[in-house]
């Protein structure tokens, strides 16, 4: 038995839920405290709360907003944004987070993921990966132990590059390689967002998602691009993800969580109803 989780995502800026396209052009989508309660009552299997400007503004996440959001939530709450120390994680857990998402700090200091998993348990540590398709053949993927010149391979396979600082800074890291690495470091789960698909409502990046799911044995949450009910079904069936995350379709009430779940159920996907 394995049920797929449906996860509404609250991208929070200055205490308000916003939604953009390709991580830009943010517009107001609601109050995090109210939305979280609404989703928790409506049947969301989990809620993700991301303080999307914490890293760029070089500040800590807004603990007070997290605390007020958590107050009305009796389903799992994953919180991320600017998390870079064990103290940050402890503060978030004490504010009501059940899991913590690490993104930029994991790339800058991979050992942090290891320490965090050791201290709080892997089940508590989600590594968020923001990835973008690499165009052209000159791309070189770097890591400390591994270099691939994709231009040399006979069959041109797609590559995705990891971006940090809320999608603004390319890292040269290959997303699939990075996913494998964070699993080894002790991450319990991967929250994978396609920057290309984000906010487009044109569907998840199935190829990217499948490439990452096939590379690791920890659960992967697909994120970015959900616009229609078929998109949820497609990414679960084709990429075998453990969970699907969406923001705008839920915030703007295009679909209710219940409606998505009913449709997935009819398509033969096991969900909690």
């Amino acid at each position: 038995m394995y049920t797929i989780r449906i996860i509404p995502c609250l991208d929070v800026k200055e205490g308000k839920v916003v939604k953009g396209i390709h991580f830009k052009n943010l517009r107001y989508a609601g109050d995090p405290v109210e939305l979280a309660k609404w989703y928790s009552d409506e049947g969301a299997d989990e809620i993700v709360f991301l303080d999307i400007t914490a890293t760029i503004e070089k500040r800590q996440i807004l603990l007070d907003v997290v605390k007020r959001t958590a107050q009305n939530v009796f389903v799992p709450l994953t919180v991320g944004g600017g998390v870079k120390s064990l103290d940050d994680i402890r503060d978030l857990l004490n504010s009501g987070a059940d899991k913590v998402a690490i993104n930029t700090a994991a790339v800058k200091n991979p050992d942090f993921v290891k320490q965090a998993a050791k201290m709080f348990g892997s089940q508590c540590i989600v590594v968020a990966i923001d990835a973008k398709l690499v165009h052209g053949s000159q791309f070189t993927v770097h890591s400390s132990r591994f270099t691939v010149h994709s231009s040399r391979s006979k069959v041109e396979s797609k590559k995705w590059e990891v971006y940090i600082n809320a999608g603004s800074t390319p890292t040269g890291l290959d997303a699939v390689f990075w996913a494998r690495k964070v699993e080894k470091l002790g991450a319990g789960e991967i929250l994978l967002t396609s920057i290309d698909a984000d906010g487009t409502n044109q569907g998840y990046d199935v190829e990217l998602t499948k490439a990452v799911v096939d590379a690791v044995n920890i659960p992967v949450i697909a994120s970015g691009g959900a616009g229609k009910i078929e998109h949820f079904i497609e990414v679960v069936k084709k990429a075998k993800v453990s969970a699907v995350l969406a923001a705008s379709v839920f915030h703007y009430k295009k679909y209710s969580i219940k409606k998505v779940k009913t449709a997935m159920n009819s398509a033969g996907i096991q969900v909690r109803v």
Partner: protein
């Protein structure tokens, strides 16, 4: 009469979720950082952390002996997630560390082919005993939220209260007189989770 509910702090867990749930049900949560344990009607061993570090913390603060004493006095104890694992003899998560040994058995890691580990999802809990006050308002099978990589292998089969399947059928809830423990998160399983938590507290009242 149950009023004060002590929640053991291993120093790594999310105590707010469980405190909140206890508070919502009308009881008073008390965070316990060190021994001795005073004025608690119920003890909760909560959910997040690593078996080895949690046991080391309990050993170094003397809370391990306090919990054992609490149990042998017949006072109610509730274990959640890591909490159900700590009451057994040992765990594959920390092979050289002894558990609280309130019940016999060991904790082992999932080795499920083709299924991701940790087991993170809402999964069906099948209750073995049906006509009990513990299940008032609940169906024989309900979805609860799981997040774990290890599960208990119970030696005393009669204490297995519910099972769940994830590649393997495992024990997801035990009831042994004044000890109740769940592998799933009662405080994170929506209204059904709160309902079962409330039933457990009522069961404790009658002890």
């Amino acid at each position: 009469m149950i009023r004060k509910v002590g929640i053991i702090n291993y120093g790594a867990g999310n105590l707010m979720s469980i405190s909140k749930a206890i508070d919502v049900l009308g009881y008073q949560p008390l965070i316990i950082n060190s021994s001795p344990i005073k004025n608690c009607d119920v003890l909760i061993l909560p959910g997040v952390g690593n078996f080895g570090s949690a046991m080391k913390m309990l050993n170094s603060t003397g809370l391990d002996e306090e919990i054992k004493k609490f149990f042998s006095l017949g006072k109610p104890i509730l274990g959640i997630c890591l909490g159900i694992q700590l009451v057994f003899n040992s765990s594959e998560e920390a092979k050289d560390v002894k558990g609280l040994s309130l019940v016999s058995g060991k904790v082992v890691k999932f080795s499920t082919r083709g299924l991701p580990v940790p087991h993170i999802c809402w999964n069906i809990v099948r209750f073995k005993n049906k006509n009990t006050a513990l299940l008032a308002g609940l169906r024989d099978e309900e979805y609860f939220y799981f997040v774990h990589s290890y599960y208990p292998l119970v030696s005393e089969k009669n204490i297995v209260f519910a099972t769940t399947c994830y590649g393997v059928k495992f024990c997801s809830m035990i009831v042994k007189n004044n000890l109740v423990a769940t592998q799933f998160h009662l405080e994170k399983s929506g209204d059904k989770g709160l309902k079962l938590l409330s039933n457990i507290m009522k069961y404790f009242e009658l002890l």
